[in-house]
Symmetry: C2
Subunit: 214 residues, 2 copies
């Protein structure tokens, strides 16, 4: 969770603006932040990006609107961080030593995220909104896209060190050929996003980047 210099000094509103915690006074900033992100994530997945307004999130989380205005530049930025926070546990990279198994497991989790419980709609809305909102686009790249790519490249780097991927391969290209291929089926839909698709992606890529001696 990000910390900001002014967090501890942030008033969390009185009883009038914290309907979920009547009479319990101020909460620590980190706790408020978590409640806000949970509330924004709930609104995002239940009702879409248009429902993530400072008004609605304040009402659901018990935080004051002033707090939200101070911590997030826009409702879009808040929606983005709520999404990012919510999906992080789902999109972890295992390291069992078997790169094919680990990539397949992560991609399968990603595909489930995009096809179950409205996750694909949320991602489509976020990416779609970023195409015409420069601020959201920059936040998306800095706070989500680059960190996610970095995690993938770290796992792929271990596979290079283990001799499972050639050391002359651009690992960033692999990222586009695995996760980019999934985003392609989501955002420019023509064929289904299935676990079998994820397995085929991994197989094609790993055959293509395997060392000659395999």
């Amino acid at each position: 969770m990000r910390t900001r210099p002014d967090e501890t000094a942030t008033p969390d509103g009185g009883a009038a603006t914290t309907p979920l915690r009547p009479g319990r006074g101020r909460r620590p900033a980190a706790q408020v932040r978590e409640a806000v992100l949970v509330a924004a994530g709930d609104l995002l997945f239940e009702r879409g990006i248009g429902a993530v307004t400072f008004d609605k999130v304040a009402s659901r989380s018990g935080a004051s609107k002033m707090t939200l205005y101070r911590w997030w530049p826009s409702p879009g930025a808040l929606a983005l961080e709520a999404y990012s926070t919510r999906v992080r546990p789902t999109l972890t990279f295992a390291d069992t030593g078997d790169i094919a198994r680990d990539l397949t497991a992560q991609l399968t989790a990603f595909i489930h995220l995009l096809t179950d419980d409205g996750g694909g709609t949320v991602v489509g809305q976020l990416v779609g909104a970023a195409q015409s909102d420069q601020d959201l686009a920059q936040a998306f790249t800095a706070a989500y896209i680059k960190p996610r790519r970095q995690l993938a490249v770290e796992r792929l780097t271990v596979a290079v060190q283990a001799g499972q991927i050639r050391d002359d391969v651009d690992l960033e290209v692999i990222v586009d050929q695995l996760w980019g291929a999934c985003y392609h089926r989501l955002l420019l839909p023509a064929l289904p996003l299935t676990p079998e698709f994820g397995r085929a992606l991994v197989e094609n890529v790993l055959r293509g980047v395997a060392p000659a001696q395999r």
Copy 2:
């Protein structure tokens, strides 16, 4: 160019609605259609999807607004067809017998389209708008995404027949790993879309799907 049953019977408005061709009377429907698509394409590439309104396109093309309303369900659908028509000559698939060369040439042209002359902005706007517009999304899939995938699969099928790609490979997956990877760098930007990237995509994919005897 698509033909429709009512095209030849469609009135193209009188002199009052065709300011670019005063006093010259009606034009054949196919010619009007072409003028409309050129005007819509110009507006789209010069000023973005928001500039493609029936008003502006009618004014630029000399077609009547009534004609536009009759032929296209929405300005978004018109923008989509204008885009599709404009990029078709750029995105052809050569068949020199060398699949690596032909895929690289096509991907290079696609990458230039996305990086030169505002093409990437246009594509981002179209894909972005489709995420929250069901009608546009359906038109996009039917009129652009599926036909483009089909052209790629046809070229890849020739490569399978020529023994350059294994016959147990799902060619649709290759489409996502080449063009989907490019859309990924456009729509979720973190790294540049370059001709070198296109070459790396083709190399990874073709190594992965090559027959064992190569």
